[in-house]
């Protein structure tokens, strides 16, 4: 039975094999699993406090060494655009921090300023500008600098695009797709002021000292060329120049590098009692994602087993039927199935690494502020 206020040092003398005192099973369950009952989940708050079980003589504190020993990552799927991996041994607050940073604080390039020369289409200037801002660009934001109000747009902080489409009179309507955005590696081609003096160099809206073609090996185009921007009828035209800068999702969602990023906890489905025969068949039919399966016993009997607990979506169909009391749905508190869908600027594994780096930088900034 648990001793009140017993120190670990005294325990070491009593127990010859120096094993740590463990919690009783029901408490261990409470500590590591979220129980999803038929109406609502319980035990959703984790026991993080280091002294939570001090009265029982169990040490709940965690050091960085223990974290290092228990932490695991298993990658399930990794393609150019998305990835799914399991993060085991970390708490929800840190997993959530990574998710928040992925959505809002990893920088990207997106079109910010539009210089409109001619727009006779049915789409208004501001609506067209808004649509252009949301187009994902194929540029690595780590190689660019931020641009503030006082900075001059140069080849290190701006990407310039041109769009010049027109539909001739008498022809069919055309659709303007994002592939028609042309990258201008030499900088802006629009002149700032009217040519009052006859010099050879006109002042444009950007000051590129060298062509971007030499700095960035591959062309900085748009990622997907088939996004519809506008539709033009006969006689309509669009001529504009767009400048893209670096920003973060916090300022505007166009700068978010992920289509989305989410996590879910690993589901655990436990059968408290044997479910046999027709009940087993019914149970297997009830589950829409086929978590259960039938196992044939020797003498013609059937038994339900949990085949794919990972697929469980917590629809609770299995607990609402008559055999529901014998099924327990749980979530493992420290096992997260993370999915990251990138919009294309950076591959998803790079995005996650950047997000972790940003959390480290935040910590260091606060440490510097405190000292």
């Amino acid at each position: 039975m648990p001793k009140k206020g017993a120190k670990k040092a005294k325990e070491m003398d009593d127990v010859p094999d120096q094993q740590e005192k463990k919690l009783p099973d029901y408490l261990e369950l409470q500590r590591t699993r979220v129980a999803c009952k038929a109406d609502a989940p319980i035990h959703t708050q984790g026991f993080q406090y280091s002294g939570a079980y001090a009265a029982m003589g169990v040490d709940n504190s965690m050091s960085v060494e223990k974290f290092r020993k228990n932490f695991k990552i298993e990658i399930n799927r990794l393609t150019e655009d998305d990835m799914e991996f399991d993060m085991i041994g970390v708490d929800a607050s840190i997993a959530n921090a990574f998710r928040r940073i992925l959505i809002a604080e990893v920088p990207t390039m997106a079109i910010e300023k539009i210089f409109m020369v001619d727009n006779t289409s049915v789409i208004a200037d501001e609506v067209l500008s808004h649509r252009l801002g949301l187009i994902p660009l194929d540029a690595d934001p780590r190689r660019f600098d931020y641009m503030s109000e006082n900075d001059v747009p140069n080849e290190r902080n701006t990407i310039v695009y041109k769009l010049h489409v027109s539909c001739e009179k008498g022809s069919q309507r055309i659709t303007v797709k994002s592939g028609e955005l042309e990258w201008l590696p030499e900088g802006s081609q629009l002149n700032m002021s009217s040519p009052a003096q006859s010099g050879d160099k006109q002042k444009t809206f950007t000051s590129f000292s060298q062509s971007q073609k030499e700095i960035y090996e591959k062309p900085l185009g748009v990622k997907f060329k088939d996004i519809t921007i506008a539709r033009l009828g006969p006689g309509q035209a669009i001529e504009l120049e767009a400048h893209a800068v670096k920003g973060v999702g916090k300022a505007h969602a166009k700068w978010s590098p992920v289509a989305t990023a989410w996590y879910r906890m690993l589901p655990e489905v436990v059968l408290l009692k044997e479910i046999e025969g027709d009940d087993a068949e019914e149970l297997v039919k009830k589950c829409p994602v086929k978590v259960f399966d039938i196992e044939d016993l020797g003498n013609g009997g059937k038994r339900a087993v949990v085949a794919k607990p990972r697929a469980c979506t917590l629809c609770r169909e299995c607990v609402m039927c008559p055999t529901g009391e014998h099924i327990e749905l749980r979530r493992v508190r420290d096992h997260f199935i993370f999915t990251i869908e990138s919009t294309g600027a950076m591959p998803p594994e790079v995005l996650f690494t950047e997000a972790v780096k940003i959390l480290e930088e935040k910590c260091e900034r606060v440490i510097a502020e405190l000292s």
Binding site: S93, V356, L359, K362, C363, E364
Partner: protein
């Protein structure tokens, strides 16, 4: 900045600018794991201001040091996460050519 009493350095509230739940919840979790901490929590005084208050009460050590240690621990944990993740990606990529046939079927 730190708001604490002059004679009692064991307990104080740290008001951090330009931060939100992202950092504060993670720091609160790491602080809780430290056995020197008696109480810790965070609050956001107003959602429109970009400020977060972290309250730390310890069993004897100065609160500032405990908070700094927690931030250090969080940094070390992040570095470990990054290292493990990079190794896992390299391993996954290394095994992939061997299973290339299966993967093609699963790809869209």
């Amino acid at each position: 900045m730190e708001h604490g009493s002059v004679d009692d350095s064991k307990a104080s509230t740290f008001s951090i600018m330009d931060e939100d739940h992202t950092l504060a919840n993670s720091v609160r979790f790491v602080l809780n794991q430290d056995p020197r901490v008696a109480f810790c929590g965070y609050s956001i005084p107003h959602p429109a201001d970009n400020k977060v208050n972290i309250r730390v009460q310890t069993t004897g050590d100065p609160a500032k040091d405990v908070l700094k240690d927690a931030l250090q621990n969080l940094t070390v944990m992040c570095q470990h996460v990054r290292g493990t993740f990079d190794t896992a990606v390299t391993d996954f990529r290394g095994n992939k050519p061997a299973e290339a046939m299966d993967i093609d079927l699963n790809k869209k």
